[in-house]
Amino acid sequence: MSHDHSLNPETMPQEPEKATLEGRNKFLGLWFFLGGETVLFASFFGTYLALRNSTAGGPASTDIFGLGLVFAMTMILLTSSLTSVYAMYHMKNNDFKKMMLWLGITGLLGISFLALEIYEFAHYIIDYEFTFRSSAFGSAFYTLVGFHGGHVLFGITWLIALMVRNAKRGLNLYNAPKFYTFSLYWHFIDVVWVFIFTVVYLMGRVG
């Protein structure tokens, strides 16, 4: 079983995520994907910027956005970015248990972010009757922020699948790239959120 042995070496290399050709390909492939995601989100941001004042008599951004909830969501997502950095730190030190622990914390923070976002949307819909069909502003807002929320949901599902699938395997050169690419994706979700809280919520409050 020389194949297994090459994936479970005596000493782990410094960067286990890039030690195999498959790992390097996954690394490049995910960055390629993130380049495409940048353009995808840019078109949503462009649409939102173009339509954010087209309220059609419905609620405007200055009426509905509150800063408290958004601040809490921002802190949660930013902290979850740091916890996934910790997970990768333990991966490089070949400490599988601590890596799983920090990945678990990352997942919990992601779930609480998503819960707050669902609460926020429900609040807009029930208390302000601000829906996807209220106005062009409503459509652009829910498309942009909802698509980001969809990315968070996808990330959580990805993380749970990774953690369950590899729970008994321990860290090796086969699954290290999988954990590393997840952490890159998770950081990118936070990058998009930085622009959402700035462009949508903060600029929406300024007017």
């Binding site: 479970n8 000493t11 993130l34 940048t38 462009g46 921002t74 730190y89 030190n93 070949n94 700035t198």
Partner: protein, 107 residues
């Protein structure tokens, strides 16, 4: 051959290097939190002119995203030429997209 790899040791020099790297990550995290708080306070306090606040919070967002890419996602490290090319390619197309969509509406 399914031996547990947890018994593998990482040499102490590498461990120290990882620890130094982690310290840098923590500093960038503290800075990112700081930028976020400044941006929220600038908007919540209503102390500044709108013409000044919008560029300020956009610059804070750009700096914060720079930390995210270069430190958290390791773009500052060796072997990240292709990732940088892909992301900057994406950013280039993103700027064109946003400019096009916004200009169509403004004029």
């Amino acid at each position: 051959m399914t031996e547990n790899t947890n018994t593998n040791h990482v040499d102490s020099f590498q461990k120290r290097k990882n620890k130094d790297e982690m310290k840098k990550q923590l500093i960038s995290f503290a800075l990112m939190i700081g930028f976020t708080i400044i941006a929220f306070i600038a908007v919540a306090s209503d102390a500044m002119d709108q013409m000044f606040i919008v560029p300020l919070i956009l610059i804070l967002a750009l700096v914060q995203v720079g930390f995210q890419f270069y430190y958290f996602m390791h773009m500052k490290d060796k072997g990240h030429e292709m990732p940088a090319a892909m992301i900057y390619g994406g950013v280039w197309a993103a700027l064109l997209t946003i400019a096009a969509l916004v200009l169509i509406v403004w004029w």
